[in-house]
Symmetry: C2
């Protein structure tokens, strides 16, 4: 089964509702910037690359929705659409990258009629979506070479097809390794509080018969100490200019443990996730989400009443703990300011 | 509110059912070794010291139950009782310590009638229970001195009143520090999969108005990296002769992170938890529990169908990561084979 995280159907954007997976597999449909922003905020769609693609469609949908309006109304409506999308989630830079790219296209269409602008923006959203899959395939090919045959690979959260337009970043590397004939088994951290590992990564791997073992997040150290992990591969929501990596909360702990046990720690990172405007990890905004995610899961609420809660959704892994970034342009060993800048010069 | 984890009432043992806390606060009642073993296995009662006390009562209950039998039936029944209790859980050494102590008392009563033996065993169980609270108070006093005023203390799992006969080991140290007039705030790891932190530690602290903040297990590194943790205090299920510490799964990861951030890592450890017969952590048996604990919580099951699961209930923190053991005989800095042996000589 090929997973289509986002698809265009009937002049609407449809997205798999990832909040209810794996119990139910359903598409929700979106027809405006505000509705897409809602879908991003509520995590119908999540994963940095998928958020970037969704935001691009959000802009195109807004243009389609407003194309009958007068020019001034169209322009102010579009600005409002960009704003609501930009405010949906703060950490994944692909969101801003996608919006910026759509804004440039819009800017290049000055003087043309609304309908032509809307068509062009929709084409660009389609292109961003297709590009994302091509990029994931390229990263997959580079990353697959890093994994030995028989590798037992630990991953955190879901950087799979569901986090992208398809194939996945971290899981894309595993898929490409399997396609290349390597025997790969996956250890999936469940990834509290939203349980992307238990629900999404496990589901993707089971769909494709790639052996997958689920653990709670606090078992990763045990597995490493027993020699049961050969490599770690994760995705990222934003990489700073110096190579510091923002990714799902808990990634930092995995990286520290991997270093202690001499296990390579790879980050699958399309260039669109690198933010040269951010000097280091300390400058990356970390989203704090609601307490109810930590005191339980969905309707099951188990924590003692009256307890305070922290819920940072991401953490920062310093570049020194990263063995390599895997990009669509190749593998960047021991990432630093210089070799990252080099990616954008070549 | 004083928490009585285990109490004697109407010639039965009553234990708070910790599986349903904090949604419900209820005692379950036990009248035989087999029923107590069931209560231990199903985690009605958990925490190494509490398991030791429960096992002692299990032996006493079996003697009371069988006191009307002929001597040979009494003896074989008692042996069966010891066996079923010993098989209830493998990692906490207090279980075996409690059983051994009861066996010695039984052995000292050779030739006396069953009723006298049963009375004496019940007295011993009562004494073990009282002793446990006295020991926790002594550890608390020693441990409280290690914590600076205003300390933000991270703890993992529940080593509280609920894990003991009362006061607690790790949480006992925090309680004693608060009683000594120090301002202490607690950061509680939720402790998947059984959620002892979210359910039990948070509940105990809320009861006593000690400020407590709940995080998921994978947030501990984030909190440390932001300078929001001043010390870690945990309990233990078994300490090897060299100072390696078995404790709830995830403890090892916290210890590695604490070392990286220069944060002291303290282990509250009554002498009954030290197992001189075990040379190092590698020789401590690690219980693996059922998959359903990891694929969800209680009736809420969220993981993808078909995923394999690992569920080790404990991990090993090597002695080198332990800043100090806090025992009822004092603080053992940088635990090793020599200073641990010294505890039993003095």
């Amino acid at each position: 089964m090929k997973i289509e995280t986002l698809r265009w159907a009937g002049n609407k954007l449809e997205m798999i509702d990832q909040r209810i997976l794996p119990a139910a597999f359903e598409y929700s449909s979106y027809d405006s910037a505000a509705s897409v922003a809602d879908g991003i905020r509520s995590m119908v769609v999540r994963g940095a690359p998928a958020i970037g693609v969704a935001a691009a469609y959000g802009v195109a949908l807004e243009a389609l929705r407003l194309q009958g309006a007068f020019t001034t109304a169209f322009e102010s409506g579009m600005e409002a659409g960009f704003t609501v999308l930009a405010q949906s989630r703060p950490t994944a830079v692909n969101l801003f990258w996608g919006l910026e790219r759509m804004r440039r296209v819009w800017g290049s269409m000055a003087g043309q009629d609304n309908a032509a602008v809307a068509r062009r923006l929709l084409d660009e959203a389609h292109e961003i979506r297709s590009e994302d899959i091509r990029i994931n395939r390229a990263m997959g090919a580079f990353g697959a070479e890093l994994l030995p045959d028989g590798a037992r690979v630990l991953t955190h959260c879901n950087a799979g097809a569901l986090a992208t337009a398809g194939h996945g970043t971290a899981l894309g590397i595993l898929r490409s390794a399997v396609e290349a004939g390597k025997k790969i088994s996956v250890i999936a951290d469940e990834t509290r509080p939203f349980l992307q590992g238990a629900r999404l990564t496990a589901w993707e791997m089971v769909q494709e018969n790639i052996p997958v073992t689920l653990i709670t997040d606090n078992m990763a150290g045990f597995m490493m100490s027993r020699g049961e992990v050969d490599a770690v591969v994760v995705g990222t929501d934003r990489v700073a200019a110096n190579g510091d990596v923002a990714n799902k909360i808990g990634t930092y702990m995995v990286a520290v443990l991997a270093r202690r046990h001499g296990i390579p720690f790879y980050v699958a990172c399309p260039l669109s996730t690198i933010d040269l405007a951010v000097r280091d990890g300390a400058a990356i905004p970390i989203e704090e989400r609601s307490a109810e995610e930590v005191t339980g899961f969905r309707d099951a609420q188990w924590a003692a009443k009256g307890v305070k809660v922290r819920n940072p959704a991401f953490d920062i892994t310093p570049a020194e703990l990263v063995t390599a970034l895997v990009t669509e342009k190749g593998v960047v060993n021991r990432p630093n300011r210089e070799n990252i800048a080099g990616l954008f010069r070549s």
